[in-house]
Structure formats: structure tokens, C-alpha cells
């Protein structure tokens, strides 16, 4: 099983995301943002960071990078799973691959702390109820209209909710999936909770759930 970590100018969390994927048993490569052939990968990850310095809006410029054309084709063909973490999630909403958009945190500044998450998408995360993961963002205030929230709730596409809403996101949403569950976006950083010396190891549960989902996804498609 092969994974790719896409690197845009300004991406910061590529190294630890690469290490986390390897620790979860995936053969992983780095992918520079003007690379176009990504069909060889079962999982493509857009990691955290400040692509293009977050200028204009977080993710607003990265979404026009050459790799994003092949990412859109990769999603249409259902070839594999696409995971956007923090800045990656923002890029996916700017590209319209996931619903909603992001505003500045309600407190008005950057927040970096460990938060408790309630897992909502039990299909994807099997028997995991709660996760302790780090958040680190200044524009994590997820905004989505009420109609879409109902849709997300009905189709069980909300991955996690913050136990205590740290940034004003509607309905404390911390992560969502697209209609056919092959695009995932989450603001918390699983890759910072995977090593034995990290405060929590719940990040491994996220990556192993992704692995299981790839198997289920490919077998369902075959």
C-alpha cells in the first residue's frame, strides 16, 4: 500500500506526516506540487503548513497548483483516498472538493493546544470514541450553511466534533468527508500524536483507520 505526501511551497508538516505514514506501515513518497501522475498511490495526503504563506486566504493559491488537477481526476476516478490535514483541509474546501470554508478563529489569533475530539463517523473509525490530538491554526473556524450541516449529519459525513469548541466552528465540526467517502478533511494534526515520545498516540488510530478504509474502498470498487 503506497501513500504520497504533497509538498507545496510553504508546507511545514510534511516531514512528521511522512514519518507517521511510514510508522503506520505505508510505503510513502514526497510529491512536489507540480507533479502530475499520482495514480500509483492508494492514499494522497495534503499536509499542514502555510502554503503560499496563507496569503489572500489559507489554501486560496495552492488550490491552483498543477498537482490539484490530477488530484481532482484522482477523486473523480475513485482511485484511492485523499486526506487533507489543517492547511490541506483548507485547500480542499477552496478547491470545492469538500463543503464549507474557513474564517479567522473567534478568539482572533492562532491557537496551539491539545483538544478532545468526539468521533462521529463510526463506520470509518470502528470502535474509537474519543481522540486527543493537537490543533494548531489561526483560521480553523469552519463555516457551513445549515442545509449542508443537515446533509452531513444525515449521511454521517462528520468525522469528529470538538468536545469544547476552540475556534467557533459551526456545530463544533472538526472534520468532514465527501459524498462517497474518498475525500477526508480534518483540522487537528494526527501526525503530531504518533511517536512514543508524543503526549498522545491517538494519531496512529487515524492513520490505521485510513489504511482499513483503503482496503474497504478498493475491494468495494473492484
Amino acid at each position: 500500500m503506497r501513500a504520497a505526501v504533497v509538498v507545496f511551497p510553504g508546507t511545514n508538516c510534511d516531514r512528521e506526516t511522512f514519518e507517521a505514514l511510514k510508522a503506520s506501515g505505508l510505503e510513502t513518497d514526497y510529491l512536489w506540487h507540480n507533479w502530475t501522475s499520482i495514480d500509483v498511490y492508494d492514499l494522497v495526503v495534503l499536509p499542514g503548513g502555510f502554503s503560499y504563506g496563507d496569503y489572500l486566504r489559507p489554501g486560496a493559491i495552492a488550490r491552483f497548483s498543477p498537482v490539484m488537477n490530477s488530484v481532482e481526476k484522482y477523486v473523480e476516478s475513485g482511485r484511492g483516498i485523499l486526506l487533507g490535514i489543517c492547511n490541506g483541509f483548507q485547500i480542499l474546501t477552496e478547491a470545492g472538493l469538500l463543503p464549507g470554508a474557513f474564517l479567522r478563529n473567534e478568539c482572533g489569533h492562532f491557537i496551539c493546544k491539545m483538544v478532545d475530539l468526539e468521533v462521529k463517523a463510526h463506520e470509518v473509525f470502528a470502535n474509537v470514541k474519543r481522540l486527543k490530538l493537537y490543533i494548531a491554526h489561526s483560521d480553523g473556524n469552519y463555516v457551513v450553511d445549515e442545509k449542508t450541516v443537515e446533509l452531513l449529519e444525515d449521511e454521517k459525513r462528520i468525522l469528529f466534533k470538538y468536545a469544547e469548541n476552540p475556534n467557533g466552528s459551526s456545530h463544533s465540526i472538526a472534520g468532514v468527508a465527501n459524498e462517497n467517502f474518498c475525500v477526508f478533511g480534518m483540522m487537528p494534526h494526527p501526525e503530531r500524536s504518533t511517536m512514543p515520545y508524543h503526549e498522545s498516540n491517538d494519531g496512529l488510530k487515524v492513520f490505521s483507520a485510513m489504511r482499513r478504509w483503503i482496503n474497504a474502498h478498493t475491494s468495494r470498487k473492484a
Binding site: 489572500l56 470554508a101 474564517l103 479567522r104 478563529n105 482572533g108 463555516v143 467557533g168
Partner: protein, 82 residues
């Protein structure tokens, strides 16, 4: 020919802008009699095109596809006489 444009990007009416709320709260704390403060962005740039109409389309395209996010924001395009 070069045409100059000004693009105003504002939050859509139903969007709750935390920054504007905070600024207004602080202004009131400093006893400035200020109400319903809105914050937005403005971009100025020139477009190289044969005609004004063509330049206007390009400016509108840039505003729609790049400078604003349709989920959150609305925009206005204004051509500024040289």
C-alpha cells in the same frame, strides 16, 4: 491598452465575521460611538487587454475565481477611468 480596476470583497450578509465583532467591541470599550462595523478587502490592479469590455471580463474572472471565496464572500468590480 491598460485598464485600472478596483475590486471590493466583502463577507456575504449572513456570514458572522469574528474580526469585525472584536474590533467594534474594542472601539466601544474606548468609548468611540461606532456601530455595525464591517471589514472587507480591496484589491487594485491594472489589466492589459484590447478593449475595456474584455479587460472587465478578465477582472471579473480574477475576482470571482481567485480573489473571493463564493462560500463566504461577495465582490464588486469597478473600472477606474485613467
Amino acid at each position: 491598452m491598460k485598464y485600472d480596476f478596483v475590486i471590493h470583497v466583502k463577507f456575504a450578509p449572513n456570514i458572522f465575521d469574528p474580526q469585525a465583532i472584536t474590533i467594534e467591541k474594542n472601539l466601544k470599550k474606548m468609548s468611540y460611538p461606532v456601530e455595525n462595523l464591517k471589514a472587507g478587502k480591496v484589491f487594485e490592479f491594472s489589466v492589459q487587454a484590447e478593449s475595456k469590455a474584455l479587460a472587465f471580463d478578465i477582472a471579473k474572472d480574477v475576482a470571482k475565481n481567485v480573489l473571493s471565496n463564493p462560500v463566504l464572500e461577495v465582490f464588486e468590480v469597478e473600472c477606474v477611468e485613467r
